[in-house]
């Protein structure tokens, strides 16, 4: 059984093999690989017995699913109003300087992907960002450096 089939089986064991399982399956594949390839989507379509176009349509609708390779750590910096008011641009500049990439890009070593995202629901503690699932709030250029160092160390171990 391919790794993708294993994920599909695992998710459909709890959610069933109806189309209602599609989003949880895509989320599980993306959480593991940080990419949804064409082959993955064709495989999912076959398992759920729906058209691959439907799988692709769903996969590309949601901003937390991507069809291109993202790094081990996906940094999503909030760009919505209150984070912007509290200095999101300075944080972005610092991230760009530290990682030497622009939003939408991945570092050559495959560790970090940098993106901007809409409201994270941390407005009272802005600027805020998510690194994979973990929120980091009240960001300053200093705290950003520590956070990036921590994840880089984790990745290199």
């Amino acid at each position: 059984m391919s790794p993708i089939q294993e994920i599909i089986q695992k998710v459909s064991a709890s959610h069933g093999t109806e189309r209602e399982s599609l989003l949880p399956i895509l989320q599980a594949i993306y959480a593991k690989n940080h990419i949804l390839t064409e082959e993955d989507m064709i495989e999912v379509a076959r398992e759920l017995d729906i058209s691959a176009a439907h799988v692709y349509g769903t996969a590309t609708f949601y901003s937390f699913l991507e069809t291109q390779q993202s790094g081990k750590y996906i940094i999503r910096l909030c760009r919505t109003i209150t984070c912007m008011m509290h200095g999101k641009n300075i944080i972005l500049q610092e991230l760009e300087r530290l990682l030497k990439i622009k939003p939408g890009q991945t570092t050559p070593d495959g560790i970090f992907t940098l993106t901007e995202t809409n409201c994270l629901g941390q407005c009272h503690k802005g600027p805020a960002m998510l690194v994979n699932d973990t929120p980091h709030t009240d960001l300053t250029p200093e705290s950003i450096r520590e956070i990036i160092d921590k994840y880089r160390r984790e990745a290199l171990q």
Binding site: L22, L23, Q27, T58, R79, T82, C119, G121, H124
Partner: protein, 392 residues
């Protein structure tokens, strides 16, 4: 009639008696419980303000054999973070509300649709659900709750888009009617309530409808959890009584230099300083009542802020989050953004703003769902009140 600003502690108060309250509530008849809810005057706290008791009754009246209850935790409105706090501090109240609803409408399966940005809450919520399932067993109620994760789409806070998303489709809103209470998730009757609404039902069952009804003003009963952010020395989550004027709110929460407050998030209204005194927070003023997925967002801007930048940020947001299904919203949001940029650069005369206001009104009338319809709220209220900032 207005009220003084009063801070309350109903939602977040944790007295450790939830098991007893739930047991007592489940011992009462469905009709009594619905009457209590209707008498309390509770309206949906997600922003649309539909009477909760009526919603439950409509679903209960449908005789389908399979029904669902969904807790809408896709809190995506800019400036809103109260549902996150409610799910963190008092998830058992939300689950208790779902259990009572399930008993009334006769359903066995509930879901919490949680936005992916809150994935870190899942272990905590699963613990609460595990305890809740034990409680359901004890009360011999056949009802299960599951978490369904969103994947980063503001539009999925719109109830019918949320159903589509749960069905494995693109999160594109459906035409209404049919309404969810007859045709919701998988085409079955579905009650969908905001996190805060469900927590309020718990308070109503605990304290009785009178106590809830005594709070607030005529069409806006009870308290509301507000998410306060922006230019304020004390950002955070506050439970306040409905009916205060914006002036009183700003006196308490502003930094002394507030020039505008955005009520209801990007989909809400921008109120300039000159109207603080006349603006009352509550449903009848349609102030917290129009915002699409989540009500209670209060963003304060002081005089150092450019309202052009604020509007630009909102429009960037809508351009990205429009699902693209209907033309007025897909094209309209982009044209509004390009339009204000052109005026700012001097490529268009200032009278072009009037054309854009007209376009926003067309969107209000023709867009398929609340997202496209409510772009006009923030657009018109900012452009009309801060015209000079748009031009120079």
């Amino acid at each position: 009639m207005t009220k003084n600003l009063k801070r309350l502690d109903l939602i977040f108060k944790n007295e450790g008696d939830s098991e007893a309250i739930l047991g007592k509530t489940l011992a009462r008849s469905n009709e009594e419980l619905i009457s209590d809810l209707i008498a309390s005057g509770l309206k949906g706290r997600g922003g649309a303000g539909f009477p909760t008791g009526l919603k439950w009754r409509l679903a209960a009246d449908d005789k389908a054999d399979e029904k669902f209850i969904i807790c809408n935790a896709d809190e995506g409105e800019p400036g809103t973070f109260k549902d996150r706090e409610i799910l963190t501090s008092v998830p058992h109240k939300v689950l208790a509300g779902m259990a009572v609803c399930a008993r009334i409408i006769n359903c066995r399966q509930g879901f919490i649709y949680l936005r992916q940005e809150y994935t870190y809450l899942v272990p905590h919520l699963n613990n609460a659900i595990e305890e809740f399932h034990q409680l359901m067993k004890k009360f011999e109620v056949d009802f299960q709750v599951e978490i369904f994760m969103g994947s980063g789409a503001y539009i999925c806070g719109e109830e019918t888009a949320l159903f589509e998303s749960m069905e494995g489709k693109r999160g594109e809103p459906r035409n209404k009617p049919p309404y969810p209470t007859n045709f919701g998730y998988k085409g079955k009757p579905t009650v969908i309530n905001n996190v805060e609404t469900l927590a309020h039902t718990y308070s109503i069952f605990k304290y009785g409808p009178e106590k809830f009804r005594d709070l607030g003003v005529k069409d806006s009963r009870g308290s509301k959890v507000f998410s306060v952010s922006g230019d304020t020395p004390i950002p955070g989550i506050y439970e306040l009584e409905f009916g205060m004027t914006l002036q009183k709110f700003v006196d308490d929460f502003g930094d002394g230099d507030a020039k505008a407050v955005q009520v209801g998030g990007a989909a809400g209204f921008c109120v300039p300083r000159k109207r603080f005194e006349k603006t009352i927070i509550g449903y009848q003023g349609k102030l917290t009542g129009v915002s699409l997925p989540t009500g209670g967002s209060m963003m304060i801007f002081n005089s150092s802020r450019s309202m052009y930048n604020v509007l630009h940020n909102y429009l960037d947001f809508f351009v990205e989050e429009s699902c693209g299904q209907c033309t007025p919203c897909r094209v309209g949001t982009q044209q509004l953004l390009m339009g204000i940029q052109a005026v700012k650069r001097g490529e268009r005369p200032s009278t072009y703003l009037d054309k854009l206001l007209g376009l926003a009104e067309v969107m209000r009338v023709t867009a398929k769902c609340g997202l496209g319809q409510s772009v006009a709220n923030s657009f018109s209220s900012i452009v009309e009140n801060f015209k000079e900032e748009m031009i120079y």
